[in-house]
């Protein structure tokens, strides 16, 4: 596996542990069910530790507990959090107030919610300095604000500081939050998925900023994320969490090249590979929530290596090499097998162009508006039979608008021709004949919003069947079970409600609903952006298989260029409402022509 060398890979730094977490145990308050247990971490000066885990692994809970803060219903039951030898958890409220935002600070996931919308950003930056008595005068503090703004690459003039958070872009807001976190020259900083809501380009800038600031200030940083690719260029060491426990800790290179816990390896295999050398492998199932974790090693039900003993007793921490800790009964066997064997080459034949192609959907000179504003400009492209076209772009590029125009879900003005099988399509889905509505199916971005929470899965799946087919009750049930089978779900789910399912399962149900209509065209709008990387991989595997086996024509809308090779044969890159580059995936990704594509490629985090 290729190791990406950063500009200043290992600067000389003192090997002083600034943050020491030992045996941290956090429980749900009345029930005493553990969220996190036996969490021990060590971060040195100027070092970034990546804390990686799926949803519900308890990683955010660990992050906030470093500031002795717990969300409602949780409490720290045991353990120590020491900053330079002082135990944060033992401090009285007054001391703690001084330490928070002073010695240790926190950058939340959603900075738009973290900044006070009623205060100018300059006021908020000054506030954090005043509270902690930074400098001796207002002039000192103003100078510091200017310095911080420069360091996070934002304008530091008065006009900019007089802005309110809503007048800033998402990336700018996150930079302000980072500036606030670094303002008092803290010793420790906790970053909780600060780039999840950002575009790749913005993400790359924010990650650069975080890296530079931690190095130059000698801060010990904890970077929490579900995406190993994000920390692959940033973190010096990585701790992998599963079901509330740290299962493996080691340097970045140790983990990426020779991870010894099966979970670490599975996580790595689920990262989309932009080079297309490696096939995407999802992790079946999902991380168990507190209170539902199996006995013994919690990963046992999802583990290929599991033996009987794994389900009985939790493995002890073992140091396989200095600083490389693993909790797995079978880590020796796992490490004996080179990780390369997990790697399966992508079937290249899939991307070979077919000789004869029929255009299923053709788009000519399409211009679309959002209210009065023109958001798509003169789009020309087409989707061929049995092919998958990936539509890639950042937020605001118009990719979703284009997808919705095709699906008949864009409620504003559209100019130009959209044709399906050579016949013009009505603008509004309601204006289309039944067989057209049936042929084109749309899968929405968020499975939390696309399934009616008041309906059972059976009721949800029966919707397209009732509209498009005239079926008896038993035929209907057969079709529903078949649709669930196609997305690898059990028919026992029919009587469940969406909120009883995991995010990945919900998205599978949404896909099954589309498939039940027996479409020829499937439009997938950012269908994995709400899911964990491990779940994303499984959904991509599923969609790629369905497309191939059912002969679907698919439009795959995504912001993630790294996913493209795993699923599509053609790619169209969009920017500012225009298609800036179009071609076969290998051609575009190996030899991009447009500057924008090049930039997107270089900013996409890779492993």
């Amino acid at each position: 596996m290729e190791t990406v060398v950063t500009q200043d890979a290992t600067p000389a730094r003192e090997s002083v542990a600034v943050l020491r977490v030992e045996g941290l145990r956090i429980v749900l308050d009345p029930s005493g069910v553990d969220i996190d247990d036996e969490v021990s971490l060590l971060i040195h000066r100027g070092e970034v530790l990546g804390l990686v885990g799926e949803s519900a692994s308890g990683k955010t809970t660990v992050g906030t507990s470093l500031l002795d803060y717990q969300r409602r219903g949780a409490k720290i039951a045991d353990g120590h959090v020491e900053i330079d030898g002082q135990d944060v958890l033992a401090m009285d409220p007054g001391t703690l107030r001084g330490v928070r935002g002073g010695q240790i600070s926190y950058v939340p996931q959603d900075s738009s919610a973290a900044l006070n919308p009623a205060l100018r950003i300059g006021t908020q930056l000054m506030e954090i300095l005043e509270v902690h008595g930074f400098g001796s005068s207002t002039a000192d503090r103003e100078a510091r604000v200017t310095q911080m703004m420069t360091e996070v690459l934002l304008p530091s003039d008065k006009q900019f500081l007089r802005r309110y958070p809503h007048q800033l872009s998402g990336g700018q807001q996150q930079r302000v939050a980072i500036a606030m976190a670094f303002a008092n020259r803290p010793k420790v900083i906790v970053l909780d998925e600060p780039t999840t809501a950002l575009d790749v380009t913005t993400q790359a800038h924010v990650l650069d900023t975080v890296r530079d600031l931690t190095r130059s200030y000698g801060v010990a940083a904890l970077y929490i994320t579900h995406d190993l690719a994000v920390v692959s260029n940033l973190a010096d060491r990585i701790a992998v969490m599963y079901a509330g426990r740290v299962v493996e800790t080691g340097t970045r290179d140790e983990l990426f090249a020779a991870g010894q816990h099966p979970y670490t390896r599975k996580l790595l295999a689920s990262i989309p590979d932009i080079t297309g050398e490696r096939a995407l492998r999802g992790i079946p199932g999902w991380a168990p929530r507190p209170g539902q974790r199996p006995s013994g090693c919690a990963f046992t039900p999802r583990c290929d290596w599991a033996v009987d003993h794994c389900g009985e007793e939790y493995p002890p921490v073992e140091e396989v090499s200095p600083g490389h800790l693993v909790r797995c009964w079978r880590h020796e066997e796992v490490s004996a097998q080179a990780p390369e064997l997990d790697v399966q080459l992508r079937d290249k034949s899939l991307s070979a162009p077919e000789t004869e192609e029929h255009q299923v959907i053709s788009i000519r000179g399409v211009t679309a508006f959002y209210q009065r504003k023109e958001t798509l400009h003169d789009i020309n492209t087409s989707l061929s039979e049995r092919r998958c076209l990936a539509l890639v772009g950042e937020s605001g590029s118009g990719k979703t608008t284009l997808a919705r125009c095709i699906a008949g879900l864009h409620p504003h003005k559209i100019v130009g021709d959209i044709e399906f099988m050579g016949k013009p399509l009505a603008r509004d889905a309601r204006g289309r004949p039944r067989d057209t509505r049936q042929a084109i199916q749309y899968i929405f971005q968020s499975p939390y919003s696309s399934l009616n929470p008041r309906k059972t899965i059976g009721q949800i799946l029966s919707q397209p069947l009732k509209v498009f087919f005239d079926l008896s009750r038993s035929e209907m049930e057969g079709r529903m079970e078949q649709a669930l089978q196609q997305v690898a779900l059990d028919s026992s789910l029919l009587s469940r409600y969406p909120d009883q399912l995991s995010g990945g399962e919900r998205q599978r149900v949404a896909i099954a609903r589309g498939l039940a209509a027996e479409p020829t065209v499937l439009i997938c709008d950012e269908v994995t952006s709400w899911l964990d990387v491990s779940v994303q991989a499984a959904i991509i595997e599923l969609l790629a298989g369905l497309q191939r086996n059912m002969g679907l024509s698919m439009l795959f809308v995504t912001h993630n260029l790294a996913l493209v090779r795993s699923i599509s044969q053609e790619v169209a890159v969009m920017n500012d409402g225009r298609i800036v580059e179009y071609g076969g995936v290998d051609a575009v990704l190996d030899d991009p022509q447009a500057d924008y594509t090049k930039k997107l490629l270089s900013d996409t985090p890779t492993v």
């Binding site: 929530r289 539902q292 605001g396 509505r437 919003s449 509209v467 009883q500 995991s502």
Partner: protein, 307 residues
């Protein structure tokens, strides 16, 4: 333009329980259960239930006929077997109290149901259709809203005469304008969600989307609104009766009793005081129920992150 980012609470992002119970109560049942845990709801239901029971079985246990003259007018309760004395023309007060609750409760319920059905329908349509339908219907409702409900009722009753169906209808329409606003706001929010988009893409009929997709998601705030409107209905219907626009003499009716007997309040207070107390306690009961439901709704929203 991509769709606006939806901010969701943490609870939506974490994985749900692995345990799959086979049957799960719907949200409004959860809300009822949550509301029932609160003391105020139990007291409210107790009060409401007791007075409804009184109104229902009253006529069977009443010692006399409500139109029977049994004693001299304004006799005090000292007369044997007349625990509340007699009213302004010598009817037994207790008998009339036992008979007089039915109309208030029935009319109030009818008016509230009319208001709910009409209001929810208008709210769903305006919230989903938007544009000119929304604008015109909502402005029309604003006109209705501009009048205090009692004034509106008096206006129509004085033109068309004191008819019970008219009172029920006017009070119902007054409620409808208020309920429609609540329903519209909830509909606006729910119709943004993608499951509505999905139904549209299938080409499902609009009215089916309204009643099958959206309505089940807005039942909880409507349930709270129903409780609240019922409280107002009782007050309004009783007030209209008191003003002489409801039941006509010699019918037994709490609102009417207050009016008929107020001249004798110094010498024989019971035919005034007892109906006043009963109407007051009844509204306290329904209000406590509405309050409990409202609190449960906030609690549910906080817990599930769903609106």
């Amino acid at each position: 333009m991509s769709t606006p980012k939806i901010i969701v609470s943490d609870s939506e992002l974490v994985e749900p329980p692995v345990v799959h119970p086979d049957r799960r109560p719907s949200e409004w049942l959860m809300m009822l259960r949550e509301a029932w845990r609160m003391g105020r709801t139990k007291i409210g239901v107790g009060i409401f239930g007791a007075i409804v029971l009184l109104a229902v079985v009253g006529p069977w246990i009443a010692p006399y006929s409500p139109t029977e003259f049994v004693a001299p007018p304004f006799s005090s309760p000292s007369i044997p077997k007349m625990w509340l004395g007699s009213d302004y023309i010598g009817h037994d007060v207790l008998t009339r109290v036992l008979y007089g609750g039915r109309t208030v409760i029935l009319l109030a319920l009818a008016a509230t149901v009319i208001g709910l059905v009409l209001g929810v329908t208008l709210g769903l349509i305006t919230g989903y259709a938007r544009r000119w339908i929304d604008e015109s219907v909502m402005r029309l409702l604003d006109v209705v809203l501009a009048f205090p409900q009692i004034v509106l009722a008096l206006l129509f009753v004085s033109i068309l005469g004191p008819r019970l169906w008219l009172i029920v209808l006017i009070v119902g329409i007054g409620h409808a304008s208020r309920i429609a606003r609540v329903a519209r706001a909830a509909t606006l929010e729910v119709s943004q969600r993608d499951f509505v988009r999905a139904a549209e893409a299938f080409g499902i009929a609009r009215w089916k989307i309204l009643f099958n997709e959206i309505l089940p998601s807005i039942t909880s705030p409507l349930l709270v609104e129903f409780g609240l409107r019922l409280t107002y209905s009782i007050g309004l219907i009783a007030a209209l009766s008191f003003l002489g626009f409801g039941m006509q003499p010699p019918a037994a009716d709490w609102g009417l009793m207050i009016n008929e007997n107020r001249i004798g309040i110094i010498i024989q207070p019971w035919p005034v005081v007892v109906p006043v107390l009963l109407i007051g306690i009844l509204t306290i009961g329904t209000n406590l129920i509405a309050d409990g439901l409202g609190r449960a709704l906030i609690g549910i929203e906080r817990d599930t992150g769903l609106g």
